[in-house]
Amino acid sequence: MSFLQIIDLEKSFGNVEVLKRINLEIEEGGFLVLVGPSGCGKSTLLNTIAGLEPITAGEIRIGGRRVNELHPSKRDIAMVFQSYALYPNMTVAQNIGFGMEIRGVPKAEREAAIARVAETLQIGPLLSRKPSQLSGGQRQRVAMGRALVRDPQVFLFDEPLSNLDAKLRVDMRTEIKRLHQRMGTTIVYVTHDQIEAMTLASKIAVLKDGVLQQFGTPAEIYNNPVNTFVADFMGSPAMNLIPAKITNGSAGLALDLERGAAPPISLPLAHPPAGLVAYKGRDVIFGVRPEALTDPEGADRNAVSLAHADCFIEVVEPAGSDTFAVTHLGGKGVIARLRADANIAPGTTAPLAFNLSKSVFFDPETESRIL
């Protein structure tokens, strides 16, 4: 049975529905990431799990127990906030021990617990300082310490890394993953950063406008996005979503891509999804990730379905580990990811390899994936 369950959860502010019939679950020890653009409802969803905001309908269960009616402090959860929410007037030790103090835990026991957590997070020397005397990374650790000391059933993280600079963010990300692996406590984690989502999650839930778009493992979300929103949101650079047309090729279905003044490219589709047959003669959206669109030498040798076409290269962006090239297909700029040492120049025409087995197709009307 799942450890944390969210069943038909709805939440409205007045007449505004901010969460619409959300169903989610995660097994014990899992790492659930809620991801989406700002205003999608992910933080509200986290707050409802914490009990900081009441829900309009549905049920939340933690460890098989319905917690809808429970006060946040009774749900056996701990939360790390975006701003860290350290009590400014208390020392680090007092911050970590405040919850125990409120619950009336004896002083000696409290101090032992604080020392234990300080040891885990290596913040021992900071215990007598005030939050204002700490760096961003140190505050982050203290905030985690305050959560750890509760030894809860579920950890809730609300964009905990978004106030850190880029380098520290990567370090803390690794640290959180390490902590999770060591303690094995269930985590629900909110972020707008899709890389954080991919790297940390065992399950990802993508939200938009209060609606759950897709719920699955990082690989499922990345490789098989259910609609253009998920496809576009996850991955960087984003998946190319190119207007295209399905035609009858010499050997089954083919994909036609406009190339401006030049004649269109026609790519044979060796293993198209079954549903694509119905789109013969109609427009679709062709989704191809930059890494599935490369220079022929850099293409995946094991690809089942590979097609080549000459494309006019508009811009070349060397990024060190890779080189990105921008071309124009179907009336849109399209990014290809080439090897770092690919020999390519802007203003020329170069052959590109399309890995069609890594491509997806969307209905232009519904924006859902064609299966």
Partner: protein
Amino acid sequence: MTTAATETPLAASRTPSTLAPNRLARALIYTALILFAVYYLLPLYVMLVNSLKPLGEIRQGDMLSLPLATTVEPWLKAWSTAQIGVQPTGLKPYFMNSILMVVPAVFISTVLGALNGYVLTKWTFRGAGVVFGVMLLACFIPFQIVLIPMARMLGLLGLAGTIPGLVLVHVVYGLGFTTLFFRNYYAAFPSELVRAAQIDGASFFQIFRRILLPSSGPIIVVTVIWQFTNIWNDFLFGASFAGVDSIPVTVALNNLVSSSTGVKEYNVHFAGAIMAALPTLIVYIVSGRYFVRGLMAGAVKG
């Protein structure tokens, strides 16, 4: 002006504009500024020097010269023997009345304002905006409109002409402002801290006392100064509702100055005026920064 303006420090924090005028212009600017300073200081100077002169010297001499024969007699007289009303008591008993009125009124209105601000920002509910609007608008009513019913209400409560009655009046009509101050201050206080404390299991009052109150020093000072200044300086309520034994110092001063009987003792009037102004002036000198902040926040609200 909005909350933001409250936080804008008056001290030159930004690198002042490099609109650097030339020397002559600067000399003119300084001259103008000094002339303005003279204008603002002149009445205080006049009150001070003339409060230290014998009456004859004022009549014969001019108002701007320093005293020839300095005397503290007018001060002593204003404090303890000047004729106010029918009694030659000086301002002393009225000064005490003001203190007895101001201290509880400031305390109660500040505590209530802090709690109201806390509720209105951290425990909002449907209609909280309307409640705040209703309380805010109350700050601006012309008090003439409540004089008649208030007089009757104090009579009904048995508080007519008493200091507790005046305390009640000042608490009620100060609540809008104290609530406003704390609401605007707590609006900028991170709500995540309250949420963290809730998860830690702290109750409504524990969160207030342990989390918000320790960070409320500046706004408490601002509110106390604002309330103290307004209540100390009040004249209308004192003149309308005070009884013989509860007249505040501002009303007593006015009685002293405008009594038409006997010789006009200007020096005593000036000494009394400075005396009545002294508590607020001292507060202003000691904590001018907070005083200005209160003015700005009270000026308008967002």
